[in-house]
Every structure is written in structure tokens, then in C-alpha cells.
Symmetry: C2
Subunit: 593 residues, 2 copies
């Protein structure tokens, strides 16, 4: 976000040198109402002496004054705020077990576990609400309390803290911040705030390592991911998550069902409330900020998918459907939903109610199964809110453009404006390898119409696991969609970023144009491919058109040469224009032939 | 396009082997009502024995039965149709001059001209309407004549020839087909047809060669470009265009003003109607199918751009604005518009009325300058139609999402539903190097709302000239936008393509999924990165999730194992559902606590 207020506040801010060099910017901080509220920003110093201040998700890694070490983890920014509230307690916590990492006591491969992989940072005990107390931002907001977290996001979004509190209290926004993830820099998800972007990472049985996942997380946040979901399904699932959490400046989401299924050897029918609950507590204690729960997949909805083109494409949805059919019983997630709420509220874990029956193809969009589940998510949202648990609602999927608005309108109505968190949607099925684009189109539109957070899709969607390049492409594509949505919603200040870049473009300030770009490196590289010399970066023409044909140059010359004249012409033309209108707005006479 | 009728017609069709191998398809032809009407299609043979027939723009190059040679040019497919109409004549034509290729008699560099570059194909004389006759598809359509060209596009679009004729007669569609470009395979541009995509190529003073441009043209059409604009501005402008035209299976567009400006050494004020007219005739004789003419940039509109953030960003627009101000006279294009119509109609060159005042930034979108010019384009459209000249209208540019619909609605109203041909629009300015995506979003939306052809934007927009990779990325991105728009418009048959791909996905027919993709090569390569082995391509799980977590697999198993049960459950559930509704649609009881 670029805001005028942010500019004004910049005077109070600390500014540090170049770590964000690759991003063409410098780390800065906006000072909040108390000394320990310092909101990070990207500050782009322009060659014309002006500054542009942008929203920053990259965490302490881009601050050269901070010495980060992934083996130690990030500093616990929020710890004092949590402790000072005095409503939580540390406790021994659930004992870790080999199966948390997918290792069976009886497995001959148990010994293969790489103990070096265990997170080596400071020892910690988990924390929870004292005597089962609600320690959620929602509970505080309802009571009229403005927390430091709310102050932080208010400054970050350039809105008042009271507005932030009000939106959270109404359930229109969530501030995901588990008391066991004090490293997170507070951020808010709601339709009256900037549209956010989530990046998925996670290893699978097939590929990738813990190190890669931690690197993907920092990489994704560097390019602008507001939250990260760790969707690991293979081995070392607990340990990978520990590394990711301790090093993440953004909220981390998970799907606990994936780990629960690992604990029962991948047999959906062997899942139980007990195994699931145990896994949820394990993850609450680790610090997961929001959890996808597919509690809306009810037994009676499964047959609605029978005639679909692509059945059930959500992993969680298909697991729960299989469980329901195998037992001929209602989903244990649904049956135990209140109990689940009572757990989550003692850690301030936010629900992300999963759309297990989302469409997986254009043909299945907005069908009966999807809409039936959405109604149930609306019901669960009300229950969660009553329990003080922050809640957002997940959305599709694959939806052609003309059916997108119906989707978000229905969700907003059924779920009382709870934040909508959508995957894309993909607007066509025909372009595997380009689904960041098929879905970026849908994401921009659904963001405009009210989605609060967009779950990215990478070029590897449907084909493989994303590597670092794919993560970057996915994040940048979704930052574009989110910003386009902010512009279309008329979010205050959003257009200042576009304006700053367009000014730089018109004035041939190439370096500024690069540094203001979402991806300065690539913009610079593309320019240099055609005109590599340094002087070309101050040249008054583009490499596209060459010096003779540059429209911007001609346009500038017109302005310079006819500067005075322009005013005169403008005045003179006003008179001509009136005559013209009086003559019926037709300059060119009707044809005789 | 995938159409059921196309399938039926396939029985009459010739099918040839693999040249389109890289595209995962085989060349086929749909046989029209006369032997020389054979519409090319891409036919994807699926592993389940079915065939999917797709629209094909790749020309004879993908037909292994045809021996193509860029030095000879393509066969003149339409020549007999043109000759048989008996309303045209061959004539000596304008004499070629060195300055047509940017070479001055007096220039010491004249000798540098590479004579080998002159197109070596069959000698030809230009053709034109006898005695100034209108030989346009619009003239024929108005007279109720259905031409072979109309029959061709009817078969190509799976619509009746009478419908095609009617849309052209009403000015709602254009069929760009210069009598001097008989090599082109007829195609149609109009909102009631499939949304089309244009790819720009062209060398500049700074970079690139004739060979590269010809290769970019064939490359662009291979990936789906429906037309190509040659925007060359450097040397060899005439010769480059000759090579491109003689080898192009799609209509070629140009901006004659660029070449005219070269003839007056880049000095806008030295332009004149005479130089311009000479250039237009030169290009009409060569076979250019449509020409961008910035006749709507009027003297009195120029001051409207004075307070803009990015002035005039259209090259043609800025050249004409400079001319108008320099002479303090009305645009010679506007003043001589009727005369221009009389030239174009004798070759059947289609107008693409340029939006010289289109916005170049979010800040300038839908402003007074843009709207004033649009009104004038509406006026010129009526004049062109009255002269039997086919006409489309160019559109922006940079427009935030919430202002896009207003744009297309206004164009449709002011221009009597003449085909809208838009550049993007870009929905934000902040992502140079990703403007194929910022604009792909806007393109999909404006396509849905009525744009007939989308001018692609490549990742190099604003930064440099596109290379082959950029051309491919731009075309694929815009094919996605166009197809998403076809789906949203409910174009008959459009969804069959998505359905075929989704079926393949659900049934783990990986090879079919790749071959049905817009870009089979990349889809296959991405999949192979994670799971390279051949058996993985028939594996019943994705590389993303691995065997245990595959939702599609679980979903299929549910269907198999509970096949009979599903029907019973469905019946039983219907009863339960009624009970549920009777109880107030609430399964979960209101909270007590």
C-alpha cells in the first residue's frame, strides 16, 4: 500500500540501508503508539528525491540491521503483548511422538530419521488460554479492547485501530495470530482491507526437503505473500512445520487432516475424532495460525457429487467423503465442531472452513454440492463466532467468469460477510502449465467483488510441486490480481503506487520504474536484454520503439514546445467546442454518396 | 473451438499425420460446400478412441502433406474465388522506390541494402476493384451475396453462412481479406463469434531482422494468433512486410503512419496527405488486410491530454497530435477520410480505427480525451460503412477493472456494435515484466463483455521488443483470456474443450491432458520434472499429492466402491433432505453456551 499518511509518518520512521536491494527498496518502519509497535515497510527512494512507501511482508530478513539465522528462528515480536494480557499460561504440552513425523515405532525405517533436522532454536513451552479462556482477537474485539496486534495492522493498513477492532468484532475480518506463533507480524484479512495473498508450500511423499520448504516460505514472503500454508503430506511433517513456524514473519496455515491421515497410514476409514483432535492440539501448540477444516462435507452431500465431471477434487473433502461413506455416519468434524471451537479459542487459531466440495472443473461450477456445503459453512461460521473463534470461509476452485459474482455474493450472504478466501478461481480448464494465469483472471475479479484473501496457484498446478521459480511466479501473479482488485474497490491509497510508476515511466526515470515494479529484477533484466548499456536507463525513449517513434517522447515534446500554447488552445477550443455542440456534434458532414 | 457439428463433419474430412506433433494434434480439414473450401482444424486423438476438434490458425505449416518454403510463399488459397467474382483487375501498380525500405537516394548508406532480402517468390501484379468498385466482403454481404470466404468462416465457427453474411452486412463483424493477400485463410472478427487474438511483431530501429519477424509470425500463428500486426519501424519496412504477407496464413495488419513517417525522416510535421496516401496504396497493393488509422485524433482533443499523467502513449496518436499542433490544422487523416475509404474499398482493406488517445496509465482511464476520440471514431465508422469499408474500432490500454465495462458499453453504443479490438487493457501499472498478466485479466473481462479481438501484450511490454518466447507467452495468455471470454459468453461448443480436458484429468489420461492443453509441450515438461518416468503418465495419481493423498483417486474409488450405494444414498437422502428443510434447514442446533 502506498498512502499519503504513510508518507507523513515516514518522518517518525527508522530507515535502514540496502538489504532489500534486490527489491529495489529499503527497509523502513512506521512507529506505532507504543515503542514496540514498529510496522515494517518497503521504502523506494526515487531519483527525483521523493519516497514511495509500500506494504512489506518480507519480515526481518530484508532488514540489514537484524542478524537472522534460520537455526535460531525469528525474534518473538508479539511475546510481550501476549504475556502482558495475563490471560494465558505456559504448560507442559502434549508429548511429541515419532508418528508426528510419520515414523512408526514398528517401522524398520524409523532409524532413518534425521535428528539434525529437529529444530535447534530456543526451548519453548506451549501457551494457552488460562482455564480454557478465549484468548482470540475476536474475543478482545467483542469486549471493545484494542490489542497491540490491532494497532499494528491499523498502522499497516492506514486505517484507525477502532475500525480494525470493529471489523474483527463483526466477524468481517480476521487477524490470525496463534499465541504460540509470537514471531508473526500482525496482518488482517477482510474485505474492507487490502486484498491478501496466500502461498502454499509443503513437501509430499514424492519430493522436496525441509530446507527447501523453509526457503520457499521466506522466498514467498519476500515477493509479497501475506500468509503461507504448509501443506506437507510426507515424512517429517511435524519437524518441517516447526522450522517453518519459527522462521515465519507471516501467519502459517495448515490442513490438520493431512497429518492425521498420515498417523493412520493413509487409511481414511481409520480416522477418528481422537486422532484428529490430538493432531489439532499438536499443531495449536506449535503455533499454526489458521487451520483448514472440512467440516462442511456432510454425508448427505456426497451423492450430490456423483454426476460431477470431476467428483471431489479437494483432498480434505475426498478424505472426509470417504470416511462418511465408509462408516455411514455423519462427519466427525461436523459432529465435534463445538468441541473443536473450544480448543481453537484457547490458542487463537483461526478457522479456515474448507470447501471440500469445491468444483474441479468448469462443468461443476456453482453446482448443488458446492452450494449445499456453503450453506453448512454458513451455519458453522455462526457457531465459531459464538465461540469467539475467528473464521474465514474457503471458496473455489474452477468457475467461469460469468458465475464468479454469484459465488462471492452467496458466500457473503450465507456467511454474514465472513472473510472469503478463494483458490483462484480458474476461469478455464484448458491451460495446464498456465493455471497461474487462468486463475489470476478469476482471482482479480473475485477480489474486486469481495474476496478478502486469494490463495495463489502456480504454473505447476495439476502437474507437479512448485519450485522456487514457480512460487515467485505464483506470488507475483496474485499480487497483481490483489492490487488490481484494490484499485477496482477504490481502496484508499492503492492507486498512488500505479501513479508513482506511471510518473516515472512518463518522465523516463527508468531506475525508478524498475524499483517501483513488483519484480524489479525481472523488469531491469528485460530492459537490459534490448538496451544493455547504462546510459539507456536514462534514455528518453524505450527500447521498444527506438528514439524516433517514442510516443512518450513526442508527447513530452508537445507539452514542452506548446506549453503556453496548450493553455491558449484549450481556451480557444472551448469556444469551438460549444459551436460544435450547437451544430449537432457533427464535424464531418453526412455523406452524399 | 470444439463443436459437435465439427465432429460430425469430421467424417468428410481429410486427416493427415503428425506435423502438429508438438501441438499434440493432427492436421485435419472440414470439407465445405465446394471442393476448394477446406477448413483446417487441429484434431486431438484421445487414448479413449475419441477425437476432439479444435480451431486451427497454424496454416499449411502444420500439414505434413504440404511442402512449404518461406522463399516461395504460401499457395494463394483464395485466388480463384477473387478472380471468379470478376470485379477486380490486375494493374501495373505503384513503382517501388528505395525509400519504401527507408533508403534515401542521397544516403551514403543506400548501398548497404541487402538485395537478397527482396522476396524471391512468384512474380505478381497487384489487383484492385475494376473502375473503383467496392470489392469488400461488406459490399457483397449488403447485396445478399454469400462469398466462399463467408462459407469458409461459417464452417470454421460452426455457424450458418447466412448468419455470417448478416453479421458482416450489419457491420457487427469484419472478415479482413485484401484481394492482394490470397494466401490468407478466411477468419471473422465480431462479438457473436469466437473471441480472436492478435499478435504484434515488427522490427525497430534498435533491433531484429526480417528472418526473425517471419519466424515470429509463423510461431505466433502456431500457438493460436488469429491475426498478426507488422509494426516494423526500422529499415527494410517494405521488404519485411512482403516476406511476412507472402508467408502468412492469417490476416496482416499495419499502421501505415509508421512507414509514412520513415519516408519523411521521422519528422512528424513533414507528413502530408500525399505521402500518407502513397504509403497506403503501397501497402494495399502488397496485401495488408487491415490498417490502423488514427483519424480520430483531432486538433481540439490534444489539449484534453495536457493534464494527463502519461500524455499520449499511442505512437500514431502522438505523431498526429504533433502534426496537428505544428500546423495548427485539423488532422489530414480526418479531412481526407472519405478519400481514404475510396481507396480501401477497392482492395477490401479493413479499417482498424486507432485510439490514438487511449490511456497509458490507470490514472488516465476513461478520461475526456479518450471519450472524445471515441465519439469521433463512431462518426468515422458510419462514414466507412457507408463507403462499404469494413471497420473495427481499437480500444484501450490501461483501465482498472471497475471501468472496463463502461468502456466497451460506450464503444458498442457509439460505434453501432462495430467490432471492438482492444489492447489488454492492463488493470494495473505496477508490474512491468508481467504486463501479459496485468492485461490478460482485463482482456478476459472485456472479451466477456463484448470485445471481438484482443491485441496481445507480451512480458516485454514497456521494456523491450518481444523475442520468440515472449511471443509464445503473449499468445498463450491471450488465448486463455479469449477462451475464458467464450465460456463466459456461453459461446456454443466452447466448453466442450474444457470438458474433454477435465474428463482426461479425472480419468488420469495424462497424455490426453497434455495433448488437449493450449501448450502441450510445457504441460508435459512440468509434469516430467516431478515424475519423469513414462509409467507416471498413466499413474492414477498426480505428482502434486502422491499416491496416498490424491483426491481424484479417492473420489474415483468412492464412485467405484459405492456405485450402487450412491444411487440408494441419493434416494434415501432426498427424504432426509425434505425432513431437514422442514426443520428449518438447520442440522446443527443453536448453541446453548
Amino acid at each position: 500500500m502506498t498512502t499519503q499518511d504513510a508518507h507523513a509518518r515516514a518522518e517518525n520512521a527508522t530507515d535502514t540501508a540496502a538489504a532489500g536491494k534486490a527489491l529495489g527498496s529499503h527497509k523502513g518502519y512506521l512507529q506505532g503508539p507504543r515503542p514496540d509497535i514498529r510496522v515494517p515497510v518497503r521504502r523506494v527512494h526515487l531519483t527525483n528525491g521523493k519516497d514511495v512507501t509500500l506494504y512489506d511482508t518480507s519480515g526481518p530478513y530484508t532488514d540489514p540491521a537484524i542478524d537472522t539465522d534460520v537455526r535460531r528462528g525469528l525474534a518473538p515480536l508479539r511475546e510481550n503483548w501476549i504475556v502482558q494480557r495475563g490471560d494465558t499460561e505456559e504448560y507442559a504440552g502434549r508429548e511429541l511422538r515419532p508418528e508426528d513425523d510419520g515414523i512408526k515405532h514398528t517401522s524398520p525405517r524409523g532409524g532413518l530419521r534425521n535428528l539434525d533436522a529437529v529444530f535447534p532454536g530456543r526451548p519453548r513451552q506451549p501457551r494457552r488460554g488460562r482455564n480454557g479462556a478465549s484468548v482470540t482477537q475476536l474475543a478482545y474485539a467483542k469486549r471493545g479492547e484494542i490489542t497491540p496486534e490491532m494497532e499494528f495492522v491499523a498502522l499497516r493498513e492506514n486505517l484507525s485501530a477502532e475500525f480494525v477492532r470493529d471489523e474483527i468484532a463483526a466477524g468481517r475480518a480476521v487477524l490470525p495470530a496463534n499465541v504460540n506463533h509470537p514471531e508473526t507480524e500482525p496482518m488482517i484479512i477482510g474485505k474492507n482491507f487490502l486484498v491478501k495473498v496466500n502461498a502454499n508450500i509443503g513437501n509430499s511423499a514424492v519430493t522436496s526437503s525441509i530446507e527447501e520448504e523453509v526457503e520457499k516460505m521466506t522466498w514467498a514472503t519476500r515477493w509479497g505473500a501475506d500468509t503461507v500454508m504448509d501443506l506437507s503430506t510426507g515424512r517429517n511433517i511435524h519437524t518441517t512445520r516447526e522450522w517453518v513456524l519459527r522462521n515465519s514473519p507471516v501467519p502459517i496455515g495448515t490442513v490438520p487432516l493431512y497429518q492425521a491421515l498420515e498417523k493412520v497410514d493413509g487409511k481414511a476409514e481409520e480416522l477418528s475424532w481422537e486422532v484428529y483432535k490430538d493432531t489439532v492440539i499438536e499443531q495449536c501448540e506449535q503455533g499454526v495460525d489458521y487451520m483448514t477444516v472440512h467440516a462442511g462435507v456432510l454425508l448427505r452431500y456426497v451423492p450430490l457429487t456423483a454426476r460431477r465431471k470431476t467428483g471431489i477434487v479437494s483432498r480434505g473433502g475426498s478424505i472426509m467423503a470417504a470416511w462418511c461413506l465408509a462408516h455411514h455416519k455423519e462427519s466427525f468434524l461436523y459432529e465435534h465442531f463445538s468441541e473443536l471451537c473450544e480448543i481453537l479459542r484457547t490458542y487463537d487459531v483461526t478457522f479456515s472452513l474448507g470447501d471440500g466440495l469445491r468444483p474441479g472443473s468448469i462443468a461443476d461450477a456453482n453446482d448443488a454440492a458446492q452450494m449445499a456445503e456453503l450453506d453448512t459453512l454458513g451455519e458453522l461460521n455462526r457457531i465459531a463466532k459464538a465461540h469467539d473463534v475467528q473464521t474465514m470461509i474457503e471458496g473455489p476452485g474452477h468457475v467461469p467468469m460469468h458465475k464468479i459474482k454469484e459465488n462471492v455474493d452467496r458466500q457473503q450472504e450465507v456467511c454474514e460477510e465472513a472473510p472469503f478466501y478463494t483458490l483462484g478461481p480458474l476461469t478455464t480448464d484448458i491451460a495446464p502449465a498456465y493455471d497461474h494465469i487462468t486463475s489470476g483472471i478469476g482471482a482479480a475479479m473475485i477480489g474486486w467483488w469481495g474476496t478478502a484473501m486469494l490463495c495463489y496457484v502456480t504454473p505447476k498446478e495439476h502437474l507437479g510441486l512448485p519450485d522456487k521459480d514457480d512460487v515467485k511466479t505464483g506470488v507475483i501473479t496474485y499480487k497483481i490480481a490483489a492490487h488490481a482488485a484494490d484499485l477496482a474497490k477504490g481502496h484508499p491509497g492503492a492507486q498512488l503506487w500505479d501513479d508513482a510508476l506511471s510518473d516515472a515511466r512518463f518522465e523516463f526515470r527508468w531506475e525508478d520504474q524498475f524499483n517501483l515494479a513488483l519484480d524489479p529484477e525481472t523488469a531491469r533484466a528485460f530492459h537490459d536484454e534490448t538496451l544493455p548499456a547504462e546510459p539507456a536507463k536514462t534514455a528518453h525513449f524505450c527500447s521498444m520503439c527506438g528514439p524516433k517513434f517514442c510516443s512518450m517522447k513526442i508527447s513530452q515534446e508537445i507539452r514542452e514546445q506548446h506549453g503556453a500554447t496548450m493553455e491558449e488552445v484549450e481556451a480557444g477550443m472551448a469556444e469551438k467546442s460549444r459551436e460544435f455542440a450547437a451544430a449537432g456534434n457533427r464535424v464531418y458532414l453526412p455523406l452524399a454518396d
